[in-house]
């Protein structure tokens, strides 16, 4: 099915909060605000549902970038979920950076249900960033393959 074997087609997983960014992605869709097909969205009830294991799992399975989108701080549907997510992701990203994994491969963005434009822009930027980083080899290869 691949379009062009030569071209790098990144695999990007986006975890989107059902109440804000998932709806923001819907709005981007109904407003026909394009972003690359490389982005695949997984619906979660809240950014605080995103377990670091999901992210590492994605990288291990060959993802080139993972983005987590939640409600703006202060606007969490469950009041406080995104605050916990913010701390968890900050620490996780810092650890990945510490281990030499390019920190552009992970991102957290707050996108509300009304921000279709922001959703599309964010995804375009993120895909561009992943393109500039190229294929993810590091997280898939933390142990020397011998």
């Amino acid at each position: 099915m691949s379009i062009n074997n030569e071209e790098f087609r990144p695999k990007i997983v986006a975890f989107c909060c059902n109440w804000c960014s998932y709806a923001g992605a819907d709005l981007a869709g109904s407003s026909r605000l394009a972003y690359p097909a490389d982005v695949k969205i997984i619906r979660v009830p809240c950014s605080c549902r995103v377990n670091p294991m999901f992210i590492l799992r994605a990288f291990e399975k060959g993802a080139d970038g993972v983005i987590i989108c939640g409600c703006h701080p202060g606007d969490c549907h469950y009041s406080t979920g995104n605050y916990y997510a913010r701390r968890r992701m900050t620490l996780l990203f810092s650890m990945l950076d510490y281990m030499g994994v390019e920190n552009g491969r992970t991102r957290v963005e707050w996108v509300s249900a009304a921000e279709g434009v922001k959703f599309s822009q964010t995804m375009n930027e993120f895909v561009e960033k992943i393109h500039s980083l190229g294929e993810n080899v590091r997280l898939g290869d933390l142990r020397c393959k011998n």
């Binding site: 590492l56 202060g74 992701m89 900050t90 620490l91 650890m95 281990m99 957290v108 142990r143």
Partner: protein
């Protein structure tokens, strides 16, 4: 040491405790091991010296379920772990009679060996009664000696201090052995280029044989069933078809204990492959201190842990790229 034994016998005799949790001599002069003692006779095997690095807090999870109290010997740094376990309802404070034992720094046999001292038949200077300045070894190659500090575990060079956080009584003197910066090693890695960092960790992690020693010894890794043994994450397969666990084990383990790890250093101490595992935990501790305010797990039993807490204006995850 004798004072400890005497006190233990006394407590057993008067029925205050049903058993004593301490260390008994191993088959070599430098490998004492954790042990329960239930009679005065058994206590003749009790030892406490510079090689008693093991943190006994975790054994109290099991001991808490036993009939009667247990006298447990905790070094100052071990009491942080015990506090953390109280906080997480894993041990029962009422079931423990805590004897805070003095500590003058614990020794690493690996370090001794690295100093070229091998074939050891006897050690002196590791008793807790002296000043802990010099160690003398009888070896099959003759007598050798080294400075006590040169043989100390890494964690003792960044010692959290002489104070016990929780105890019923104190026996023995402690010494402040801190002579290095706690985060110096972490900072060194932080300063590397991404490629160097990656090479460093790839090299270290490649040594891992997944023996689970780090997990088993860790007082924070006290789960009844580890996620890595659970069917609920599809992360339990040991077969080669799924290499997820092997690659991510240490990151996840460090994340799971982030904000709960007291930096007791047991993981690095027990790793048979010599992987400096504390570097993961200490990175999280450093980040937590810098981003959310200084926090020492186990310093108390009621503060909110950094990962179950937040402020409205916490740093955004993008700070990682900016720092």
């Amino acid at each position: 040491m004798q004072e400890l034994i005497n006190r233990a016998k006394e407590l057993l005799a008067n029925g205050t405790v049903a058993r004593v949790l301490g260390w008994k001599a191993g088959d070599l002069p430098y490998n004492p091991e954790p042990a329960f003692f239930t009679t005065a006779e058994e206590l003749d095997n009790f030892v406490y010296n510079g090689f008693c690095g093991a943190n006994l807090s975790k054994y109290m999870i099991a001991a808490s379920k036993l009939e009667g109290k247990t006298m447990v010997c905790l070094k100052p740094c071990d009491t942080y772990s015990f506090n953390q376990l109280i906080k997480e309802h894993r041990v029962d404070r009422e079931k423990a009679y805590i004897v805070g034992v003095g500590c003058k720094g614990k020794l690493s046999i690996e370090k001794v060996k690295d100093l070229g001292i091998k074939g050891i038949t006897a050690v002196s200077g590791a008793e807790m009664s002296d000043d802990a300045e010099t160690l003398t070894f009888q070896t099959i190659y003759g007598d050798k000696s080294c400075a006590y500090a040169d043989a100390m575990l890494e964690r003792c060079h960044v010692c959290k201090g002489k104070e016990h956080m929780v105890y019923d009584e104190l026996i023995g003197e402690s010494k402040d052995t801190k002579d290095a910066e706690r985060f110096a090693e972490v900072e060194k890695i932080e300063a590397m280029s991404p490629a160097e960092k990656f090479a460093f960790f790839q090299k270290e992690l490649s040594k891992c044989i997944r023996c689970n020693a780090c997990r088993n010894v860790c007082p924070a890794c006290s789960c009844r069933k580890c996620v890595f043994d659970s069917t609920k994450f599809d992360s339990a397969q040991k077969a080669n078809v799924d290499s997820f666990e092997e690659k991510m084990f240490h990151i996840i383990r460090a994340f799971h204990v982030a904000g709960r790890c007291t930096d007791c250093g047991e993981c690095s101490r027990v790793c048979p492959q010599g992987i400096p595992l504390h570097l993961f935990n200490r990175k999280f501790i450093k980040d937590i201190d810098e981003l959310y305010g200084e926090y020492q797990a186990g310093a108390d039993t009621d503060s909110k842990a950094p990962l179950t807490n937040f402020t409205f204006d916490d740093a955004e995850p993008s700070i990682v790229t900016k720092r």
